[in-house]
Amino acid sequence: MTDARAPAPAPRRPNAILRRRRRELALGAALLAALAALPWFISDVYTQNLLILVLLYAGLSQAWNVLGGYCGQVSLGHALYFGLGGYTSTMLLLDLGLPPVFGMVAGGLVGGVGALLVGWPCFRLSGHYYAVATVVVGEIGYLLFINWDFVGGASGLTVPIAGRSWLYLQFGVSKLPWIYVTLGFAAAAWTVAYLVEGSRWGYSWRAVKDDVTAARSLAVRVFPSKMAAAAISGFLTGVGGAIYAQYVGYIDPDSILAGSFSILIALPAVLGGVGTLWGPLLGSAVLIPVSELSRSYLGSSGSGVDLMIYGGLIVAVSLARPAGLVSLFGTRGLAGGRGRG
């Protein structure tokens, strides 16, 4: 078959894939610079908090996107890896005095291993059966932690005060450093997605998502591909959980392992565009402010109007833009060339 490669095609301009990737990298760098400058113009704590949450969920949702978007394995149990990351870093800080900057990495590793352990049995299921299994596994994790006294049971864990320190991710009342912590997290998650998208893994994942039989016939190893996506996704989600735990200063199963987190992590990517580089950030930038604003203006006590607006928005977007918000921008650069992504 060596003949099929020759003659080499005549030299031509960089192909569409390379051009698109260059464009996306440039856009990413520009956006990172803009977001890094943004805190200079935001002084009120409410808006700062909003920005922190947008960035945190952009990163978490990008982590979810690696497995649920690119690889097409819709997980509704990511709260488990999120919680594992938060509990790991907090326990390491409480029991061993390990600073959360390192605990974050440990939390990521535990999250990644957790995702592998869940993936081992669950990836034998496909489609909806896989999604349902992840819901169940997430609930099991939640119940285990509620009844596990070693990690505080239902009463949870409080992060001890350690003074102002980047090592301990504690900054007194100042929210400014948190913007940079979460920006770093979101940028790291984006970079990972960017790198794997252009690699052999990225192609394998998308092939697995589109047609497993055809993928196998081209020597794509389906199960290892899914496991690799799960490990990366679980790691990043665990890191996000550790950051979240330090940010809020207190965790219990309801505040970090509840099934609602699994939905919150998946939704920005789904709304913004699954399997695209920009979907998670775009979805988060729309969803989080809508959710926070409707809650603060309409009140969350009993009326539930905020949730109706939130749900209505999701329905509206999925009806009008089934491929997600990224498709609004039309350019194949932003949509990542995935029409049905």
Binding site: M1, T2, D3, A4, R5, A6, A8, P9, N15, A16, I17, L18, G198, S199, R200, Y203, S204, R206, A207, K209, D210, D211, T213, A214, A215, R216, S217, L218, A219, V220, R221, G275, G337, R338, G339, R340, G341
Partner: protein, 242 residues
């Protein structure tokens, strides 16, 4: 010519259906072999066994003397078997180039290398004009070419074509025939399943005729079409007497 692919006493049952029973034949290096037979003869099932998608119940398939049966599609692909599907299976969220790159990663480690190899085989398959088009936007004959390009990207020794000419207009079918000849000239051994006899017979070197899961006869295309057994299988007893 040497035997490149050997199928030996292969049997496969799906529930109550004996899809293949005791199938034996050889594919010689560099030939175009046609697998023909009426519907339900077991042609696609045999393809699935050779490409590793299903494991045979009994029997063996060897490529260049080494057993590939029962090792799965990944091992078969790595050994040098590639296939297209009766119902086209393109990766619809990807462009043509991205589709073919999935196949090219079989032999390439780096993305740039896979891209270069993919561009070359897309050229071979005559799809260069559509290289950046989303796979969903291709016409049916273009999709067939996409599948062939993707298969070529794995650098196969044996290419299995499952009804690649079915559903094409006569002009498209002629282009397809020319492509198959070109591939053979590049040293790829071809096994094809086809319903369109008048297109297939002049193209193939030898034919293996299947009926009801068994090999009815093997031989030159001109011989097998005169074989009374073959005529009976296709048209019924009355015509075989005539």
């Amino acid at each position: 010519m040497a035997e490149l692919l050997e199928v030996r006493e292969l049997s496969k049952r799906f529930g109550g259906v004996q899809a293949n029973s005791d199938i034996s034949f050889d594919v010689r290096a560099g030939e175009i072999l046609g697998l023909i037979g009426p519907n339900g003869a077991g042609k696609t099932s045999l393809f699935n066994a050779i490409s590793g998608e299903v494991a045979p119940d009994r029997g063996e398939i060897r490529l260049d003397g080494r057993r590939i049966s029962g090792l799965g599609p990944v091992a078969a692909s790595r050994a040098g078997i590639a296939r297209t599907f009766q119902v086209v299976r393109s990766f619809d969220s990807m462009t043509v180039l991205e589709n073919v790159m999935v196949g090219a990663f079989t032999r390439a480690g780096a993305a740039r290398d896979a891209m270069r190899r993919a561009e070359a085989v897309i050229d071979t398959a005559g799809l260069s004009a559509r290289i950046d088009a989303p796979a969903v936007s291709l016409t049916p004959p273009e999709k067939r070419r996409l599948e062939i390009a993707r298969a070529l990207a794995t650098e196969p020794r044996v290419l299995l074509l499952d009804e690649m000419l079915t559903g094409l207009t006569p002009a498209e079918a002629r282009n397809g025939v020319q492509l198959v000849r070109d591939l053979r000239d590049r040293g790829i051994t071809i096994v094809m399943v086809e319903h369109v006899m008048e297109v297939l017979l002049p193209l193939i070197d030898r034919a293996v005729v299947l009926n009801l899961g068994r090999v009815l006869t093997t031989g030159l295309p001109a011989e097998v079409v005169r074989d009374p057994e073959v005529i009976r299988a296709y048209l019924g007893d009355r015509y075989a007497q005539a």
